[in-house]
Symmetry: C2
Subunit: 206 residues, 2 copies
């Protein structure tokens, strides 16, 4: 049995659905006696390209639906949320910063990820510039200059590259994505199914 | 108020998730005092093209995930299901037949759609040839020869074309898709959200 394995939570700060899931997964995990292992992916930059897909917002019909859906889902769950309207943002610096912090302070890294989510999806401020990551990290007691140096290093680039590769090799193709005891779940709307799996470790209805 | 409006259920016999939803939507509607209006769409032929998407099974990573996911969802819900493994199938004849039957016997048309779903997703038999539709319709008391003549008519072609167009103009981009009192829902995993909407007609959590 692997009952004590953490639930792998694949996230990207850039994804509104990743943000919404980040507000739900820890309670679900705790109820089941599990930890959550937060693992970054680069949704737009790497994953969608492998799949040959356009950014969701640019897909006719689906883009409009999802724009509305993220907001109503947040409202239904009582999660603070707003569409930021920013263009051309990316999460590379934020995800490198997350991995660097995780390497020496994993719990702080999770708080950092939450702060970055809040910055983008609650306050509507950009996350692209490394300075944004440095600002949020500094509030958690991490030296801004050290972070800025670290995330520009070849090691930080390689670490993120390897992490995204590892996710893709496990079949991760979207955000949020969860892996628990060998089963994969895509989308926050599948959290009840994840709960079913953690309870029964079976799909049979008999 | 439009509380008595039927729930629009957009389906395509070719979609396994459409099949799974077809086994759930009527009970949900009945619990809420609603009827279900079954409306055909041509997922692969029309909708995916508008969106610039490949068939799901051909998308790297996602295709494999969804193949497994349809089967586990069926098992979890206790719905008979098997992957048919057939290649090159399409549902044009079946959907024309559905619309034709609906034009004079709407309740029978729904039973016909269920029989076609069962044919493909339970028994694993092809549905492409018009004869398949004629066979299933005949069991419901509809003359096979009349059906075969009807679905080859220009009127039948036009009716399906117009129906799919109308769906797209309402923003339908996938299957299953539900519209209830102005709100759209994509995917069977959103049925709890549809229930929330039917109950509260609001997304606010306050």
């Amino acid at each position: 049995m692997t009952d004590r394995e953490p639930i792998e939570f694949y996230f990207d700060i850039i994804s509104p659905y990743g943000y919404l899931a980040s507000k739900q997964i820890e309670l679900l995990a705790a109820r089941n006696g599990r930890d959550v292992d937060w693992r970054p992916v680069l949704l737009g930059i790497t994953v969608m390209k492998i799949m040959g897909m356009k950014p969701l917002r640019e897909i006719p019909l689906k883009g409009d639906y999802l724009y509305h859906d993220a907001a109503r889902t947040a409202a239904m769950l009582g999660i603070p949320f707003r569409h930021h309207g920013l263009k051309g943002i990316n999460s590379i610096a934020a995800m490198r910063a997350f991995l660097w912090i995780k390497s020496f302070a994993p719990l702080t890294a999770v708080v950092f990820a939450k702060k970055m989510y809040e910055r983008l999806w609650v306050r509507g401020e950009d996350i692209t510039d490394p300075v944004a990551s440095a600002e949020e990290a500094e509030k958690l007691g991490i030296e801004a200059a050290a972070l800025l140096t670290a995330i520009n290093s070849a090691a930080a680039k390689q670490a993120l590259h390897d992490t995204v590769d590892a996710a893709v090799s496990k079949g991760v193709f979207g955000v949020p994505f969860f892996i628990a005891d060998g089963e994969s779940f895509w989308g926050g709307d599948r959290l009840p199914m994840l709960q079913h799996w953690l309870t029964y470790h079976s799909w049979s209805s008999e």
